[in-house]
Symmetry: C2
Subunit: 225 residues, 2 copies
Amino acid sequence: MGPKRAIVLLSGGLDSATVLAIARSRNFECYALSVEYGQRHRAELNAARRLAVALGAHEHRTMRVDLADIGGSALTDIKVPVPQAPGSGIPVTYVPARNTLFLSLALGWAEVIGAADIFMGVNAVDYSGYPDCRPAFIRAFEALARVATKAGVEGGRFHIHAPLIEMSKADIIRAGVDLGVDFAATVSCYQADADGKACGKCDSCRLRAAGFAAARIPDPTVYRP
Amino acid sequence: MGPKRAIVLLSGGLDSATVLAIARSRNFECYALSVEYGQRHRAELNAARRLAVALGAHEHRTMRVDLADIGGSALTDIKVPVPQAPGSGIPVTYVPARNTLFLSLALGWAEVIGAADIFMGVNAVDYSGYPDCRPAFIRAFEALARVATKAGVEGGRFHIHAPLIEMSKADIIRAGVDLGVDFAATVSCYQADADGKACGKCDSCRLRAAGFAAARIPDPTVYRP
């Protein structure tokens, strides 16, 4: 019997890179999955490709889905501006049903390769405004996976691992550094340029910079002028 | 207040055409959603476009997803032959996590347009081998939708309607005829040609032909020589 296989959702950002490193540290053979969903920050996908190699993923695939067709988010709809300051409630950068969709794609691939474990970098602390970043969502998806799949019907159980879910951004950064993640290779900015250079102004940039400051670790992010 | 909106998953086959007619008969303003997932039977998508218009959908969109990338089904992987006779257990035409994915896409669009109802043509009688065609799956997805969405967090409830789930193929055909569905415009064959002409040999063709026979309704399907 070979090593246990896991699907790891890999966006190319700081969180999912750390999750891949965590999954590897637990000796999973990792199948990294990126999703191109019409997001503005395509630099993330290039980062994902490099990170998959650097962090020892067994395989990396990018699936395309046209979420832009349904609109409704600053991340996929060019008519909705990316906010420059934190708001209250659920942010406009929330993409409807995004994590449900990502987990569905991961679940499909998991069935094909016989993996029972899926890792994702959702976080309930920094992104408390996103409904699909909460433990209740993770548990509900595990329950769904049991009845939705051939493996589940045959008695298998899927585990959705969300190791960052209760961690602060500073905790995540410290965990990633301990596992050798090169955060300079990650892209978090909602409006990064083609080279992955960050704006330094969007919510995601602010959270990231604050995380490095709180962790007392030098911020390797390259900001554009 | 306008009419209640619903997303209707529309493949272009007999079942989903009937579901659209049912949703319209219940006075929903229908947003028909087709998914192009690398399936062989693209003639279905052309049929879906025509059926959306004929059956009075308010809008019709087709989303593309690359399920072929993950393989694992005779419907998306050209290396797996389409079976010519019924087998036992879960058929090789089962696409991993397909209905989970379709419902995720429908859920995302539902959130954007403020719809709380999603209709789909799953059927537990004729397709008992597919885990994601059972009532337990539908209930688990409704539970997921409550915690996965902005609307759910704010107290809304999503209803996944599966009006065909306990119906035989003959029942479905009778219901569709009563609602004025032109079944000649639907495509069920797993390996239909570009014009939608059916093979008459695959599982789907056999179930469809048997349904018309059992309903004592002339079969309008066009078979290729």
